[in-house]
């Protein structure tokens, strides 16, 4: 356990070095957040019927999405692992006296946490200070806030376990681009990153509910604004745990299979 913690810490410190990139990213995310909210405001302005999610909730949804982008983006590129696999350096990794799955898992986790830690607070502060329609509202109650934190962290673990599967698939395909791009595009759509899941048509929502992606972003954000009531949120957290167990189990199993037949590339 200690080994994984120190890998995590090393990566975290490493990730904290890229401050300039973080500032640029922050400006971009603020701008994107504002533009998306303006679009939603324009849509809601003349809508006559009751929508399944209120404008206020959509705005919190959009801000949280921008603030925790590093937590929920499926495609957080770590070329290092790809190169390890395709370049043959995987052999070194196999010599290490620790589980490869846990090792990579903590690496990927640290990367996301450090990136979010650099970016989230300034955007959070700005989003809380903006004039009215654009402001990020506080969660309606303390419990909703706590449930949000729990579900967001569980969602983060689910995202990392999904991206582990993407990395493991490279053992078979040997070419990281293309196929992974398609998974990422579809996954982000079904996680509600393009439009919030409640605004999708019913048949699409059913697909989204059946996939794990929704639990990484859509679910915690709606818990935050109280759009998902607390009793339901507890059930949702249970489902997140089930998904996490299933994804990690499957990931470990397939990594084990991949390593049995691994071919070390190059010399």
């Amino acid at each position: 356990m200690n080994a994984y913690l120190s890998v995590w810490r090393l990566r975290f410190i490493n990730g904290m070095q890229y401050r300039a990139a973080a500032y640029a990213g922050m400006a971009t995310q603020l701008f994107f957040g504002l533009v998306f909210i303006m679009i939603f405001v324009a849509f809601y302005q003349h809508s006559t019927q009751e929508q399944p999610i209120s404008l206020k909730d959509v705005i919190s949804y959009t801000w949280l999405q921008q603030i925790f982008l590093a937590f929920i983006m499926l495609w957080f590129r770590d070329n290092e692992i790809f190169q390890l696999i395709t370049g043959g350096n995987i052999a070194y990794e196999l010599c290490r006296p620790c589980g490869i799955y846990e090792f990579w898992f903590s690496k990927l986790l640290a990367q996301r946490v450090s990136s979010a830690a650099l970016r989230c607070f300034p955007i959070l502060i700005v989003a809380f200070l903006l004039p009215r329609p654009y402001r990020l509202q506080l969660p309606p109650s303390l419990t909703a806030g706590l449930l949000f934190v729990v579900s967001l962290l569980l969602g983060l673990l689910v995202v990392v376990s999904i991206s582990m599967l993407i990395y493991i698939s490279v053992f078979w395909t040997m070419s990281p681009v293309g196929s992974t791009l398609l998974i990422a595009v579809a996954g982000e759509f079904f996680a509600g990153l393009v439009i919030p899941v409640p605004l999708m048509p019913a048949w699409l929502q059913q697909i989204a509910n059946a996939l794990p992606f929704r639990w990484t972003a859509d679910f915690p954000f709606r818990v935050y604004s109280g759009q998902i009531p607390q009793a339901e949120a507890l059930w949702g957290i249970l489902i997140q745990l089930l998904w996490l167990a299933a994804l990690v189990g499957f990931g470990r199993w397939s990594l084990h299979r991949a390593l049995r037949q691994v071919v070390v590339q190059g010399g």
Partner: protein, 260 residues
């Protein structure tokens, strides 16, 4: 121009060497804006309209800006990836050749996988044009062409500005993404649904509004007043290019090599 074509041919051949990867990437590029467009479609399915604009009108807006973006990503990629050229000191080599630097940087990289994106935008454009009741005239067709070219000019101009910054910073700056990616996202919708300050900034400083919103008013017959004026607004994109080229030349003169 002959040289440019030559660059094109060489780059195309070299990218075709990795055929599977090439096609997979192209397909992937097709689906990225596709998911955004699907989102747009579902929004309209739920809301019906946005500030009086119908789905097909917004689709036209979307298609024009994405066409322009994919063209410029395909052909101006050299400027986008310019930081590597400066960082490695390879830019020195371009300076000693008897051709303009801008042309050589343009020729240094093409991203042909962007054709996937291009195809997607063409499809959206076709769908929008079929469903819109527009009485087509030669003038309107010319306007369409101008709109796309003007968009390419603006995106290329921004790439150039960002590349020029590399002369001083050496590293590439993500900040330009606000104006390329952000501009693209924003200009998918007609400009008048935004707040006043956004509209003003993107009409007079970076004229994205002149790429699709203003000339589209003319094409859809919504413009009041002089139609010619609306028709000529895309020329603002060309005007935007001018200072960008000047800044580029200024940057080249102040270039200090990083060595190798």
């Amino acid at each position: 121009m002959r040289l440019y074509m030559h660059y094109l041919a060489i780059q195309f051949k070299s990218q075709m060497q990795y055929r599977t990867s090439f096609w997979l990437l192209t397909v992937g590029q097709f689906f990225i804006p596709f998911s955004v467009f699907a989102g747009l479609y579902f929004m309209f399915e739920r809301f019906g309209q946005v500030q009086g604009w119908s789905f097909y009108e917004v689709a036209l807006c979307f298609a024009v800006i994405h066409l322009a973006f994919s063209f410029s990503e395909c052909f101006s990629r050299g400027f986008d990836a310019f930081s590597t050229l400066v960082g490695s000191g390879d830019f020195d080599r371009l300076l000693v050749r008897p051709r303009t630097t801008a042309l050589q940087v343009l020729g240094s990289k093409f991203e042909f996988t962007r054709f996937g994106r291009l195809l997607q935008s063409c499809l959206v454009l076709a769908v929008a044009l079929i469903h819109l009741p527009v009485a087509w005239t030669a003038a309107k067709a010319v306007t369409m062409l101008l709109m796309v070219t003007s968009g390419v000019m603006i995106f290329t101009g921004i790439f150039m500005l960002a590349a020029t910054l590399c002369f001083w910073t050496i590293e590439g700056l993500e900040i330009a993404n606000i104006f390329t990616d952000g501009g693209r996202e924003m200009a998918q919708y007609p400009l008048n649904i935004y707040q006043k300050w956004v509209t003003v900034f993107f009409t007079f400083i970076i004229p994205f509004g002149c790429v699709n919103y203003l000339p589209m008013l003319y094409i859809l017959g919504r413009a009041d007043g002089n139609g010619i004026l609306y028709m000529l607004t895309p020329l603002a994109g060309f005007a935007f290019m001018l200072p960008c080229v000047l800044v580029w030349q200024f940057g080249v003169r102040h270039y200090r090599s990083t060595g190798s």
